[in-house]
Amino acid sequence: MGRFLDLGLFIIASGLLLLGSIWGLWIAPPEAMMGDVYRIMFVHVPSAWAALMAYTTCLVASVIYLFSGKSGADHVAAASAEVGLVFNALLLITGSLWGRPTWGVWWTWDPRLTTAAIMFFAYAGYLALRGAIDDDRRRSTWCAVVGIIIYADIPIVWFSVKMWNSLHQLQSSPKTMDPAMVTPLRIGAFAFLFAFLWLVRRRVVALRLRAQNDILMMNEGDPR
């Protein structure tokens, strides 16, 4: 059952990514001011949504772990933080690539950019902490606490940096966009959603197997 679900998620994510890429690169019209540069939005915006979804999943799983103590919740928190970090990196790279021809700079201290960069380093610290603790229970509890602490920072970082400086364009909505651009963006969003689900599932399975392996090793008296 699990294998079919994995395969299904993988096929849907790949199919949607392919469809979104074709639509975004060849069917969607060029933007009036930015020309073809805007097409990076079809990857950039979904990666921002996917990263935020991953971090929210990490928060929810952390809270569930602190209440229930179930290792499954800890595995989901770890997996979503890892996947979130990948999407976050993609967000920063595509944002920088788009910023150069549009704003004339690779980097600017805009609230959304800065918040994304800070979140990247905060979750990198979270994963470093995971790797630094040997005891399973301690690792799960401490990382659940850190998962909550970091997430609580997101709105404060965004608000404070917004007060500090702002250059980012106002957020577009389907009403302000050409319908031909909305469709590939929606396809991209669903593609990233399924990619997120597939990646998290694969990582959760891997973490569960590692935990089971550790228990077996311990029972066999392996010095590792």
Binding site: I118, G125, A128, L129, D135, W142, V145, I149, A152, W164
Partner: protein
């Protein structure tokens, strides 16, 4: 009641340790002063540039010093398994966290109390909005640094890679506190024609409040493990 009593006892204990030892305070103060001087060397001798960036230099010196003082403050609790001993007694761990948080914040306030007059002399700045507002920024900023700092220091001091992990965990979370402290201090030093001071103080107070509450709620789970 036990919550406040535990907090007060922890605060008194920490103050007594500081007063009797004094080595930690002297070391931290030397470090903070050195950082302040190093920033001046890095920026060059131009008095205008140095004066304009003085709030940033002072708060970065306080932030860097906090990594030393916070870990040292929790290290004394790990020596001879003192924290484990405390857990065997009817000590409210939430109160213990509150006491630690206040003592750490007071320690940073003392550092700021030396650094600010030094910066007035070194960078030729003065608080145009008055000392009371500057004291408010220092107190809120120290609480904002200490709240998540105390939580992370409790974890980091028990790890092998503590020296790398502690700043790696702490610095990204502290960005709003740093931005708000520097901006509020700049307004106190150079004037506030747009009436922004209240907004920045609100960010600082909200930050300190959110993390103090999170610490009080979650601290017991950290020391349980």
């Amino acid at each position: 009641m036990n919550f406040l009593r535990s907090g007060w006892a922890t605060l008194q204990k920490d103050m007594r340790i500081e007063w009797r030892g004094r080595a930690r305070a002297q070391g931290a103060l030397c470090f903070a002063t050195l950082v302040l001087l190093l920033f001046s060397f890095a920026a060059g001798p131009d008095a205008v540039t140095l004066g304009r960036h003085a709030p940033g230099y002072v708060w970065l010196a306080i932030l860097l010093t906090s990594t030393l003082s916070l870990s040292e403050s929790m290290r004394v609790e790990m020596d001879d398994r003192a924290l484990e001993g405390l857990r065997l007694l009817p000590v409210d761990m939430r109160g213990f966290f509150l006491g630690k948080l206040v003592s750490n914040a007071l320690f940073l306030c003392c550092i700021a109390l030396i650094l600010f007059p030094m910066s007035f002399a070194l960078f030729e700045v003065k608080p145009t909005l008055g000392f009371a507002r500057l004291a408010g920024v220092v107190l809120s900023g120290s609480m904002a640094i200490s709240a998540p700092g105390t939580i992370y220091a409790t974890m980091a001091t028990q790890l092998k890679a503590r020296d790398i992990l502690f700043p790696m965990l702490l610095f990204p979370v502290l960005v709003p506190a740093l931005v708000a402290s520097v901006k509020a201090t700049s307004l106190v030093l150079f004037g506030d024609p747009m009436h922004e001071f209240g907004g920045w103080m609100s960010v600082l107070v909200i930050f300190a409040f959110v993390y103090s509450i999170l610490g009080i709620v979650l601290f017991e789970r950290i020391v349980e493990e």
